[in-house]
Symmetry: D3
């Protein structure tokens, strides 16, 4: 039995990043954890059409692993197909956005989200609203960096620090969420810089999956 | 130029019902209104997988009409693809669930929703939450009738009255929404029975589409 | 039958501005649209006493047109008498503040309001609260310009741009509402400057009125 | 200096009831408390038009007492003119609906409101929404008794008990508000019957006025 | 290193029940899990004074285990000392009420809580409000059974079924939480009876603790 | 009979400051008002452990005065023991944080809170959430001054002005609360500087206590 962490875009380097993010957790899990790539997905999930469009292949992908799965983690910050996969599967199903927010709610009272681009913010706001936790949101602020700019790690970290400070000092966040699956490498440094807990969503989701696998033993 | 009302399931009789619901509005619209069937859709939209799964064909269907469209109406109470179609199209895009709720907010202070089945209620609740209008919701209560039972109009109307009374008298709703595209025939009688305005969502959506087409003239 | 747009203050030039704002919509409406001045109103509606005080003459004014009216629009951003007029009239009754907010909720996920003066903000906040849509509000920020300053169009547009940018970049609004009946002339330029939809409330209200007139045909 | 409790309807017997309700508080107040009738008001405030219509004469009435007033209490459960009177007067201005709710929030965690008629409930809901305290509301349920039925005290008390029990046992209210200025006589008996605190709004408002008069000494 | 589950009342049989509830999870955890009794606590935590009073001894108790602890679980449905213990300890600290609610938010959209007594409901409501998740609450309804009645398992299960049905059918809950640490034995049967997931809070908390222990490996 | 204002920390100079703050209200109260020090409390209440830890001695302290008390005021901005003392005492029990917020809700529509340190903000947020009034909060911003810095009155007032301006101009607060028991001396000057009402919480609480003592006469 395995916890399957499914990256719903087709970029293997994103899956590799997710794998690296969750690797330290393997020693703390009795169940193997496997990061997989949804090869039918688009290279990146950037629009609502992408979010909705990956649901059908994602469901098919996961159906094939249902018998071997301890749990599924959907590893994209828009949590595509989360509700549909929960209807389909008998296993625990965790989305990284939902898990990051629920985890943040145990680390602080007001969570801030760092998004890549401002055009994702309305999608996040619909989701935070659907989760019914808008009163816990400090703010969701974007790095506003394009793909090329993100490749510049120094520049990215400068923006992470600036946005994190705005969340902490102006929006009064006391916990910060990295609102994207690909910023793991900065988590520790940002946490140290801000003096606040910083949540990496894939890690938070795998943690919740490990817990819910244990919870299944009681059912 | 035409207002396209797209039924995202493949059942022509559902499209016919929608067409009948909106027919009286044609005389009040300068723009033709056409009800269409998404033939690639499932016969009915009953699960979250159906909701997500129709988005891709719906987007394709609407893209083909973009140049001729004054506006699009998505005619399924789960508003599948609403956000994605808004990203894709330059025309006003209206969903019948969203429109019914916004319209109800001008007819009363607390809206009640009548759903077919209780299993739709969590999906609706996520949506009402994403819309940020939970404080205006009186309750969402199901008829809990299967397809065969719905074919019995007498029985359906009895349940509509009973659920409508519960919304009015226990949940204190002062406006009621038919939470499904196929209950138009009962609207007037239910309104009279309850003494409260009853909103049929396809009609509310077409009304809003007619208005937003007019609004486009100012832009 | 006519859609009556009633300016509840006695300033004819305000009515003229409203008339100009909605003029392009006449070609898109089967029903004539007439802007009227409530001559018994004060020259401007600046205090809560003004808001409450115009209700009685407004009701009387509209009662005289009830038989000829397709719908009424109350054209002041405090929506004076909206609830009372709805109790009195059998026609659709639309307020420009409510309509602008409901319309904005179909154009974006977080609406920002641009007010003239900060002293209007608490009144708006009571109203947004009564509408139950506080979770959709990004912020309501004032131009803080007096009557003389408003007469300087260059200065006014500078402030509109600055406040719009604050709503977009700090409060993360993705749709902006002009929180006053008299700023129509700036709508298009501001929309272009901000790269976000900008809602003019009289236009939004007339759009909704046109739609609800069509909706009446189904009842 | 006097605390003026203004009944905005013209029925002297309502004012007499208010006077009786607050009479025990006179011994606990250093400031005289005077109940007054707004003779220009309607015999009863039953519609939104009544609510809005009494504001102008109420403002005029209170302006005449401004110099002698320690505080004003608006004694109608729709709090007509509360915001306008606060703009006009330099004295503390208390509305009985607002005061009853704020007071209830110190007596319990979920307040229930007993209204006379269901048609008042939407007006109350707008107000609870404007106050931003919807999460503290258990429910607002009506007696649904007409004027003649209210004259029958036995029947009225039976309904008060039934509605109070529904608020306590179904809506889980732990404090109950009498949502009308004229039910003082039942307060103690209802409190005893329900085993929950029952708030009479005129008394709550006068209490708050006495407190705010004392608070003025610090300013 | 051990996950310490601390029962903050002094009743060993309650600790034994907790131990039994979480026993199946031991096989799914790499870390030992130990249930402990706070011998300085009262026999039961029934009042707010009890809740506040156990915080100091609980903090002292946990401080002694800080070096050996992987995580702490506070096993009383009022989550006494949760915020204080989080300030004191460098380990993950989980409260069973918070964990049950966050877990329920992944199992359904509207959670219902079954309390023992109605007098606990206001305390729970303060807590659900502080968590900012009131919009996800269907209702919190009491069994209203005293200690002797709770000893009668047949009667208790009858009440659990009746209250569970009310949560499901009237309040439209789609997930139910046992709002007390001592009802584990009924969980499976109640889940089967209702056809909804039923959350036992100690199990949910231990699951979350196991997950957060794994999460610590990334920090 | 006396209104007891209990400072739950052991610092007599804090009690002296409270005494001075409420002194002008004595002339407006028929009941004596006495400020007392909880000598068993810590010198200052700075952590959640302090908040919870003072509850037991506070309850004991107040129990000894129950027969002589008209009302109790808990004079620390974390309102320690408020719920517990309400369960224990038959007298009105007022907390300065709750009272300041409820009073602010009658002075303006959006209250801002000025805290001493940012680490108090999450605690305040839990409390505002538990009160269910998050929609009325503009923001809670800290002075971020340590004990020594607070001793410098000039510097403290500079920060009070700066934070008050941020609350007024950025967060759009129209009423400001001093979120601490020890800033009375600055209230009037800050009010004048900001042009907004500024609430001192001990004064607001004593005002509410005076009112509720009068309210007791009706019960």
């Amino acid at each position: 039995m395995t916890i399957y962490v499914v990256n719903p875009n087709s970029s293997q380097h994103v899956t590799d990043g997710i794998d690296k993010a969750i690797d330290p957790m393997r020693a703390a899990s009795l169940v193997p954890i496997e990061a997989r790539t949804l090869t039918q997905g688009p290279p990146g999930i950037e629009t609502q059409a992408h979010v909705d469009g990956v649901v059908a292949p994602l469901l098919e992908h996961c159906a094939a692993f249902e018998n071997d799965a301890s749990a599924f983690v959907v590893a994209c910050y828009s949590d595509p197909g989360l509700a549909a996969l929960r209807e389909q599967s008998a296993r625990p199903v965790i989305g990284i956005a939902e898990a990051s927010i629920l985890t943040a709610m145990t680390f602080g009272q007001r969570f801030g989200i760092i998004s890549i681009l401002s055009k994702s913010v309305p999608r996040h706001m619909r989701y935070v609203g659907a989760m019914g936790v808008m009163d816990r949101l400090a703010a969701d602020l974007p790095l506003e960096l394009g793909v090329l700019e993100l490749a510049d790690e120094t520049r990215t970290f400068e923006r992470l620090k600036a946005v994190g400070e705005a969340l902490r000092d102006t929006a009064m966040a006391d916990v910060v969420i990295l609102g994207c699956a690909g910023m793991t490498a900065f988590r520790t440094d940002l946490e140290q810089h801000l003096g606040l807990p910083v949540i990496e969503p894939c890690q938070a989701a795998v943690a919740m999956a490990i817990g819910q696998v244990a919870l299944q033993t009681t059912r």
